[in-house]
């Protein structure tokens, strides 16, 4: 039998790839799981170096341009620190007030299970796909687990920040509420290989999650969370809450007559989310508009609580508590 020539082989390969394009991704996991362990040692260190480079470039572009500007920024910084300390006290007392009144604080923390730290090795190679490749811990085997991360702030020990400082962030801050909301959701484990795991970020276009919107208001007496709604990913750094109706009051809001959400409202995962069993912050609403597809309904743009460009380590949620041996 004659073997096909190079041109025929090419057309055979094109045909095979055309068929493979329409196969569900799970049928090709085995092939990809072969590739991932090779990618990590090859590109892991350069990826870290790239992350360092990007952070350095960000700091360099934000540097003060001259000595006068530097002094002025230093004064401004000290003034802001004083204001921050005052706000911190006020904010802490408000949080305690809310926590006592609503008893929701315990809902935010994981009631059982454990968090498994895992290093971020790589991001996805394609611009519109939102994924991470993780160094898989040895005892972690389950797909459909959730990945959480501490909220990142872009100041560290070089800016006199230490563990014992009370970190207060205004409600409209990008970084979120560091003290109250201990963890932010990042994504879901999609595929677990021998030594690596792939995470689908919540901003991926194939990601969907049941969430609730929460609005913190001073003197709020609301005792329940808002109605459940659906959060879908919209590509890099973008998510959207869809199909909100006018009477759908966010938890913590005083009246049902207002819009279903406002800019600055927080989005939480639902506590009935499988394998999670906790409410964790997902993001913050940045825009609210009426839906063009469904008149009378609203949709909201949501910014993730975590800047995935800076992610270096995440925690995987394992909801199963194992008996000690």
């Amino acid at each position: 039998m004659r073997l096909p020539g190079k041109k025929q082989t090419f057309w055979l390969l094109m045909g095979a790839s055309l068929v493979a394009m329409w196969l569900p991704a799970r049928y090709t996991y085995a092939l990809r799981n072969l590739m991932d362990p090779m990618l990590a040692p090859l590109a892991g260190r350069p990826f870290r170096a790239g992350q360092d480079l990007r952070e350095w470039a960000g700091d360099w572009t934000a540097r003060p341009k001259d000595a006068k500007a530097f002094r002025s920024l230093k004064d401004e910084n000290e003034e802001l620190r004083r204001q921050l300390a005052q706000l911190g006290e006020e904010y802490r007392s408000r949080l305690n007030e809310i926590a006592e009144g609503q008893a929701f604080r315990k809902d935010l923390l994981l009631q059982q299970g454990r968090l498994i730290p895992s290093e971020v090795l790589l991001r996805d190679a394609v611009a519109w796909r939102e994924g991470l490749l993780l160094d898989r811990p040895a005892d972690f085997t389950n797909r459909k687990q959730w990945a959480v991360s501490r909220i990142f702030v872009d100041r560290g020990s070089s800016s006199d920040v230490s563990d014992d400082l009370w970190t207060v962030l205004p409600l409209d801050s990008d970084a979120g509420q560091a003290e109250l909301f201990k963890c932010a959701m990042v994504g879901r484990v999609e595929r677990v290989g021998q030594v690596t795991a792939r995470i689908q970020l919540l901003s991926d276009t194939d990601s969907v999650l049941q969430v609730q919107i929460f609005r913190i208001q001073r003197g709020s007496e609301a005792a329940e969370w808002g109605r459940k709604c659906v959060l879908v990913g919209r590509g890099p750094g973008r998510m959207m809450v869809k199909e909100l109706t006018r009477g759908q009051t966010p938890a913590g809001a005083r009246s049902a007559s207002g819009p279903p959400a406002e800019v600055g409202d927080l989005v939480f995962s639902d506590e009935s989310t499988p394998n999670l069993g906790a409410r964790l912050v997902v993001g913050r609403i940045t825009a609210v508009r009426e839906s063009t597809d469904s008149p009378g309904k609203f949709e909201c743009d949501v910014t993730p609580a975590v800047n995935c460009d800076r992610l270096r380590r995440v925690w995987l949620v394992d909801p199963n508590v194992r008996e000690p041996k």
């Binding site: 390969l13 790239g50 995935c308």
Partner: protein, 168 residues
């Protein structure tokens, strides 16, 4: 075309794609260059036609394997890119930076659109918007096209190593 130098270059471009591209991406990873596409362009411009087609396809497969999403999308798209460039290369100035710029832009848009449209058709959630379908692929292609002339300058120096010494 020699196999070993091609494999080494393919691995290097993949590492660049995974490590450098997110670092130099614009607007929170929306626009990033595609280094394997530039290598595919180089191979399609200078290698023997039948070998170039398979090499382009395998570069696409490599990108598919290192990403999530449906398998085969980039392999098919890069195969078409190879086919397109092989068919027009006799009628263009293949050493000219402007040719590299326009080839990277046109074929970058084509390759990204094929994969994007496939994913949009397969998406149950309707998460794909005009931004995904047109702005991101076009942005990626323009970014790749801006880098292509410089990287092609380097790659063209490797023609002898790759055994592209004769006009294919």
């Amino acid at each position: 075309m020699r196999l070993l130098p091609f494999v080494i270059l393919a691995v290097v471009t993949l590492v660049l794609q995974l490590a450098l591209a997110p670092a130099i991406s614009l607007t929170s990873a929306s626009f990033m260059p595609q280094f394997p596409l530039i290598l595919a362009m180089f191979v399609a411009l200078y290698a023997r036609a039948d070998v170039a087609l398979i090499a382009c396809w395998s570069l696409g497969l490599l990108l598919d394997l290192s990403s999530r999403g449906p398998m085969g999308g980039f392999a098919f798209a890069f195969g078409l890119v190879g086919l397109g460039i092989v068919n027009i290369r006799a009628s263009i100035f293949r050493d000219h930076p402007l040719s590299h710029f326009f080839l990277a832009m046109v074929f970058g848009v084509v390759a990204n659109e094929i994969v994007c449209l496939r994913e949009a058709f397969g998406s149950q959630l309707g998460g794909f918007t005009w931004h995904h379908l047109f702005v991101i692929p076009a942005g990626n292609a323009v970014y790749t096209a801006l880098l292509a002339p410089y990287l092609m300058l380097l790659l063209v120096r490797l023609r002898r190593v790759m055994d592209f010494t004769e006009r294919a």
